[in-house]
């Protein structure tokens, strides 16, 4: 594609997951040339395996203890990953750049206080006046700071406070689609000249019983042990293994990035989301429309692992891009809902920048690459609804 000053380029990557903190840990997964091994916690939330958060020294990105205390892990991880992305792009201590930076966060909700909730439902089992009980207990047991830690828009609020990103602050919600819309909106603004640089991303904590409950309500989790994402045992649950991930990106206009001599990982040529009834091939039709005319050699698939959706997506991709190498990154990082799409874009951008083959994450279901890719596709098919795609190209 011909270069344009308003091209949307990726200039910063902030990733933290079960595999580690920062780019290097994730580049090791992509480029080591050997089969990467996932990190899995099988005991703590049994029968549900999860990809747990690696040990993080929050102080590296959240220097004030007081700030750390005002958050629970979901917000901490988001603020931390946002800091990594700002650092990576060279914006960390640039007050002027942060003060004019746009921000879109894809957010779920924060942690419930499991002990307070338990206390209330246990007490309620003994009483008939449950609503009165609720008032009584909530008034005395709720911690105001926890309420703030639960508020969806306060991940963004905390990023403003800790990193001073204040150009604008928007929080998108709606599971996987929130991440898709966040990138789609930021990219559309940059392309139209409405924005020059933006922080976009989300965080997800898998190690939460309240979150695990959400998906177990539709029997969505794989139970027992980890298995490769394309080959999960249908008799052991729904196929999803959640993973703790913080994934933020710095997106810039080409002109803005080049003027400051920034490293450009990749160019986002296209990003779009859609939704609707998925029956009778309608989901595939939407993908075909969004992918019209594209040709790529690498797919970073954000499949949730849900059996039917994973199968349909893989068949579709294999038919549409017969020569492409497909990598189900959710198998390695776990499914991270709101952070899933930006995590995939981060991985694709690193693969394009390095121009190295990406090792299969599953030797039986993913084919090897012989050379680096020039174009990559990132997909995220929502576990309940919504589909998103991003087409990225190397900045050549």
């Amino acid at each position: 594609m011909a270069k344009s000053p308003n091209d949307v380029v990726v200039t910063g990557i902030g990733l933290a997951s079960s595999l580690g903190v920062g780019r290097a840990a994730h580049e090791a997964m992509l480029f080591s040339g050997t089969l990467p091994q996932p990190v899995i916690e099988t005991e703590k939330f049994a029968p549900y395996p999860v990809h747990p958060l690696v040990a993080v020294d929050w102080s590296e990105q959240i220097p004030k203890r007081g700030d750390q205390r005002q958050m629970e892990n979901w917000q901490r991880l988001g603020v931390f990953a946002a800091g990594l992305a700002l650092d990576d792009a060279g914006f960390k201590d640039d007050a002027e750049a942060c003060g004019t930076m746009d921000m879109i966060v894809a957010a779920g909700g924060g942690e419930r206080d499991i002990n307070v909730d338990s206390l209330i439902v246990d007490e309620a089992l003994k009483r008939n006046d449950r609503e009165e009980l609720l008032n009584e207990k909530l008034t005395t047991e709720l911690r105001p700071t926890l309420f703030l830690a639960q508020l969806s828009n306060l991940l963004a609020g905390n990023i403003s406070i800790v990193h001073k990103v204040t150009g604008s602050s928007r929080t998108f919600m709606g599971e996987e689609g929130a991440g898709v819309s966040a990138v789609e909106t930021a990219a559309a603004r940059i392309r139209a000249g409405q924005s020059t640089h933006a922080l976009v991303g989300g965080a997800f904590i898998a190690e939460r019983l309240d979150i695990i409950l959400m998906v177990e309500a539709i029997k969505g989790h794989q139970t027992g042990k980890w298995e490769p994402i394309w080959a999960r045992d249908r008799s052991a649950g729904g196929g999803m293994i959640m993973g703790t991930v913080g994934a933020f990106l710095i997106l810039e206009s080409r002109a803005h990035a080049e003027a400051r001599g920034a490293k450009i990982y990749a160019v986002i040529d296209r990003v779009e989301g859609d939704r609707g009834n998925r029956a009778e091939g309608r989901m595939e039709k939407r993908l075909t429309r969004m992918l019209d005319g594209s040709d790529i050699s690498l797919v970073l698939s954000g499949t949730s692992g849900f059996h039917e959706l994973a199968k349909r997506e893989k068949s579709y991709l294999e038919e549409r891009f017969p020569n492409a190498a497909i990598r189900g990154y959710g198998g390695m990082l776990g499914h991270s809902v709101e952070a899933q799409f930006t995590a995939g874009i981060a991985l694709a951008a690193m693969a394009l920048a390095a121009h190295k083959p990406v090792a299969p994450f599953d030797a039986d279901h993913e084919k090897p690459m012989t050379k680096g890719a020039d174009q990559a596709l990132v997909t995220t098919i929502g576990h309940q609804r919504g589909e998103g795609i991003a087409l990225l190209a190397a900045n050549s």
């Binding site: 005002q70 338990s118 309420f147 828009n153 609020g157 859609d274």
Partner: protein, 427 residues
């Protein structure tokens, strides 16, 4: 495109061609406007849940919309659906909307009734703090797809998208008290980008529950002047002691002016400019110097290509909390200087309370109606002015006055601020 359809920066002018609104004052723009200009309060005693022992026992809940189950998702959806039906009818649009949907909606969590129901069918506790382990065991025995759908943030926009045939992936957003304004801003941006000629912008909040009320109480954000309820919200007065939590929804159909004129639509007004600026000061308090609020107002005026002199009326955020009203006054004074005294500024929240996620859009609708009717809605309960806030708040009684452009402020909890400039259709 001819120049008359372009703004001062050469962008497509964005028209409002349909509006719908629900507040505690009633359903529909006509009823709401009549009550609002009549100085009627929609604040009342809470009957939705018991309030004994709670320090705040009043709210502006919407209790007249029928819902299949009483929960935040159903109420928020039902109100959004009704205001959208009204707005589309006003816009003369039927069939698939065929433009994007931007929805401001409250974050949702399982209702307590759902937790109690799970506890009822789960095994008894074997150790303190094990409720969620028991809930999970109960779900393994009997999954509950309705529980799943009820806790998904994307479920309201999904239903609206299906019902009204919007295009693409809808955006569901939350910028706290600025959410409604942000939804409009996203619609304006999409039209200016040329991505679409029309956008459906909806904001809804039906999330008043015991837990929501108690949470805000614990932050000392709510008025505790329960008696009489209709007098509790008193923005810019000396006795203001917090906001009154409320519910509502609004829908605005946005179209490029060119597309609106081309199809012969009636134009109710123009969204002339949007501004935003985040605050990095504190999680619940605004910068005391009002810096971000000042920057937000200035950004909106600049985006609108309007000088300070061009603003004829301000629809204030005016929450009736000690802090907001003082800060907002300071910010307005800083932007408008001495002239502020001669600009009428009123707060719809004196009558409808703080509709939270919906507020920015509800108040945008009322701002446009102010321009259309030449009537300024009053700030009621203005008996004891705060001497430190020298404003013409249109005290207690409506006023007839023609205005060409209105500034509408939304300053959010968590540091998210947005202002809109609404204007009359260009001559």
């Amino acid at each position: 495109m001819s120049d008359k359809f372009r703004d001062h920066l050469g962008r497509p002018i964005v028209a409002v061609t349909g509006m719908g609104v629900i507040t505690s004052l009633g359903q529909g723009l006509e009823d709401n406007w009549k009550a609002l200009t009549g100085g009627v309060s929609g604040i009342h005693d809470i009957t939705r849940f018991p309030v004994n022992n709670l320090s705040t026992r009043i709210a502006g809940t919407v209790d007249f919309i029928e819902v299949p189950f009483s929960n935040a998702v159903e109420r928020s959806y039902a109100m959004a659906r009704e205001t959208t039906v009204e707005a589309l009818a006003q816009a003369g649009l039927s069939g698939d909307f065929d433009g994007p949907l931007f929805l401001a909606a409250p974050p949702v969590e399982p209702e307590w009734s759902a937790r109690f129901a799970l506890a009822d069918r789960a095994e008894p506790s074997s150790q303190p703090g094990d409720a969620y382990n028991r809930f999970l065991a109960a779900m393994r025995v009997r999954p509950d797809a309705e529980f799943h759908e009820a806790v998904l943030f994307g479920s309201i926009s999904e239903r609206l998208a299906d019902k009204f045939g919007t295009r693409g992936l809808p955006v569901t957003l939350s910028t706290a008290c600025a959410s409604g304004a942000t939804a409009i801003q996203l619609g304006v941006e999409a039209i200016r980008q040329g991505r679409t000629v029309r956008a459906l912008t909806v904001a809804t909040d039906g999330s008043v529950s015991a837990e929501a009320l108690i949470r805000f109480s614990l932050l000392s954000a709510l008025s505790t002047q329960n008696d009489p309820p209709e007098k509790a919200s008193k923005p810019f007065t000396k006795d203001r002691d917090g906001f009154v939590i409320a519910e509502g929804a609004a829908t605005l159909v946005l179209e490029s002016l060119e597309a609106a004129i081309a199809r012969g639509a009636k134009v109710y007004g123009i969204v002339r400019g949007c501004g935003e600026k985040a605050d990095s000061f504190h999680r619940t308090r605004s910068s005391p110097d009002g810096g971000p609020a000042i920057a937000t107002i200035r950004a909106a005026l600049e985006d609108a290509g309007l000088s300070e002199e061009g603003v004829g009326y301000i629809n204030a955020h005016g929450t009736s909390t000690p802090e907001n009203d003082k800060m907002e006054y300071g910010a307005m004074l800083s932007v408008f200087g001495e002239r502020l005294k001669s600009i009428p500024v009123s707060s719809n929240k004196s009558m409808i309370g703080h509709t939270l996620t919906a507020a920015g859009a509800v108040e945008a609708v009322f701002s446009l109606q102010t321009i259309l009717t030449g009537t300024l809605p009053p700030t009621i309960n203005y008996q004891n002015p705060d001497p430190a806030i020298e404003l013409d708040v249109v005290p207690n009684t409506k006023r007839s006055q023609q205005v060409q452009a209105v500034l509408s402020n939304s300053f959010g909890f968590g540091g998210q601020n947005a202002s809109l400039v609404l204007a009359a259709e260009p001559a």
